[in-house]
């Protein structure tokens, strides 16, 4: 009996072995094809991503200006100039303030909306669609709509304030409120995106954990949230915070079209500084130095996110 099994196994193994040898010899012949298939992607990757990434760091060490016949290596002079420039510090401070406002706002609202939607059965997909709409709509077009809504004289916001007996305000023209107005637009746009990520996280929480919590005496919705939802959602939340922060660091569209960084630099942000230096004054070297600072922030956030992302997989 056992002999028969052994014989059968041997018979079964023989073609498999032959197949393996075949595959091996095939593989050698196929590695040429593999390079050919991957080559266009790798060449473009070198040309459009890795090369320019090295290029931006190299450029930041030169005084190159677009159209100039030559350039020279000037070491860290661009950085020295940048760190001595008041505008750079204002720009960095504004960017950090924007991130510090939009991230908690859009994450908390995204989580709140996701929890509300998930807490009942009715109209789920309608709500999801409505809250997601701002993510879809071209931001530049909607920024222009917001600008009109914030119009000091004929805007909806001031109109409603006046109707309520309150004083209107020049939201985008006042240096005390310009950045905060842009934050509101940022939160309005990012909430739906975060909501969808949280909804995916909520759906993946196993139902039996809630049953177990209920047996253990967690009767109110609030205690079930504290006992099950929040701990299970913590990795997703960290992940969403990191993504929101990365996206907020990149704020540009609304600034460029609505405030141009003003009034008096009150809404100047890093990418806008990079844009004006690099593409309006064509000071490529200095613009590259600003980019490197931006890159340092975003890359560290991205690394944080991928570490968290890996842990999330582990939890799931």
């Amino acid at each position: 009996m056992s002999d028969a099994v052994a014989a059968l196994q041997e018979v079964a193994a023989a073609p498999r072995m032959r197949a393996r040898i075949l595959v091996k010899s095939g593989t050698a012949g196929r590695s040429g094809a593999a390079y050919a298939l991957a080559a266009p992607a790798l060449i473009l990757m070198l040309m459009m991503l890795l090369g320019p990434l090295a290029g931006v760091i190299a450029l930041s060490l030169t005084d190159y200006q677009l159209g100039a016949p030559s350039f020279s290596w000037i070491g860290l002079s661009n950085y020295q100039e940048m760190f001595a420039d008041r505008v750079f510090w204002i720009s960095l401070k504004n960017t950090l303030a924007y991130v510090a406002i939009v991230v908690p706002g859009a994450v908390a609202l995204g989580l709140g909306v996701a929890l509300l939607i998930q807490s009942g059965a009715g109209l789920r997909s309608l709500y999801r669609t409505v809250y997601f709409l701002p993510v879809m709509a071209t931001l530049i077009a909607m920024a222009i709509v917001w600008e009109f809504m914030l119009h000091p004289q004929f805007g909806l916001v001031n109109g409603l304030l006046r109707a309520a007996g309150l004083q209107g305000h020049s939201w985008l023209q006042d240096r005390g409120t310009a950045l905060y107005s842009l934050c509101v637009i940022g939160i309005w746009q990012a909430t739906g995106f975060n909501m969808v990520l949280f909804l995916a996280g909520l759906v993946s929480i196993p139902k039996h954990l809630y049953d177990a919590a209920e047996i253990d005496g967690a009767e109110s919705a609030w205690s079930r949230f504290g006992l099950v939802t929040w701990p299970m959602l913590a990795p997703v939340t960290l992940f969403v915070v990191a993504i929101s922060a990365i996206r907020s660091f990149q704020v540009f569209d609304t600034v460029q079209v609505l405030t141009k960084g003003g009034p008096s630099k009150s809404s100047e942000v890093l990418i806008y500084t990079m844009y004006t230096e690099g593409f309006e004054f064509f000071r490529s070297g200095y613009g590259a130095a600003v980019t490197v600072v931006f890159l340092a922030f975003v890359l560290s956030l991205t690394l944080l996110k991928s570490v968290l992302g890996r842990r999330e997989v582990h939890y799931a």
């Binding site: 298939l37 473009l44 909306v113 879809m136 222009i144 009109f148 409603l160 995106f193 980019t291």
Partner: protein, 278 residues
């Protein structure tokens, strides 16, 4: 009575809160439609009303289309987004197949580079890529709009993950039939990957239809403008004077994607949240 009894108090609170939030989300859209439908005199009045007394949407649209060649800009948007997506697929799919199913020297190192490139934010490479396009003499052209995005490292990563799940037997069978490795990518792998390619396509088209940063940098000519650039241009020319046609133009620019989204929301949400995995 019984019907009332069935409504839980929480359910009512839930709907009230969600509807209030939904209204806030929708206000800019509602106000855009409302303003686009009002004649000039009603827009510049301190009397706040949602429904126009005189319905002027068609007039505003007519003015918008007369002042700006909106058809042309929509066509530019279509050309650019479709070209980008088609080239991304053409470049990424063979590479993804090689990384997923073929063995070659340096594969793991090269794939690690691909993953690293996903981390690079697009603004970071803008200045050197701009200088490169300047050297090549292709600034202010469709090439400048499309070329930098023909490589999607994220697309390679995504499709490679998907191809990993395709059984090897399928590929071996195709080889037995004498199909070349290149042929396998398009005749065997692509058909199995349609859902993943669709999700990636939505992600790509939405991102590039809405992109403002790159077209702003590389374009000068008005006739090449993509929709976001065109609407910003329209606003700069007409600022403070012509809000009706401006809102009508904004409406036209967002319409294609919003309508497509309303028809296939599940797919769109899936596609766009791919950035989450990034």
């Amino acid at each position: 009575m019984r019907a009332l009894g069935r409504i839980h108090p929480w359910s009512a609170v839930r709907h009230v809160l969600l509807l209030a939030g939904a209204l806030v989300m929708l206000i800019p859209f509602i106000w855009m439609l409302s303003t686009a439908s009002k004649p000039q005199t009603e827009i510049f009045s301190s009397d706040l009303h949602l429904i126009p007394y005189h319905f002027a949407l068609w007039d505003n649209l007519k003015i918008a289309f007369a002042k700006a060649d909106l058809w042309r800009y929509l066509l530019n948007g279509l050309i650019v987004t479709i070209l980008i997506f088609a080239l991304q697929v053409l470049v990424a799919l063979p590479a993804a197949y090689a990384f997923a199913k073929l063995r070659f020297l340096g594969r793991d190192v090269l794939f690690a580079l691909v993953v690293f490139c996903i981390l690079i934010p697009p603004q970071a490479t803008a200045i050197p890529v701009f200088l490169l396009l300047h050297k090549l003499g292709v600034l202010d052209s469709y090439i400048a709009l499309v070329l930098p995005f023909t490589i999607s490292v994220f697309g390679i990563f995504l499709m490679r993950q998907f191809f990993k799940t395709v059984p090897d037997d399928l590929i071996d069978a195709a080889r037995m039939d004498g199909i070349s490795e290149f042929g396998i990518v398009w005749r065997v792998m692509l058909p199995t990957a349609i859902p993943a390619v669709t999700a990636f396509g939505i992600f790509s088209v939405v991102a590039h239809w809405n992109d403002y940063f790159w077209p702003l940098i590389v374009l000068n000519s008005e006739h090449l403008q993509t929709p976001p650039l065109a609407v910003a241009h329209f606003r700069n020319n007409e600022a403070g004077t012509n809000y009706g046609p401006l809102m009508a133009a904004a409406m036209v620019i967002i319409a294609p994607l919003v309508i497509a989204f309303l028809f296939a929301q599940r797919r769109f949400i899936e596609g766009i949240t791919l950035t989450g995995i990034k």
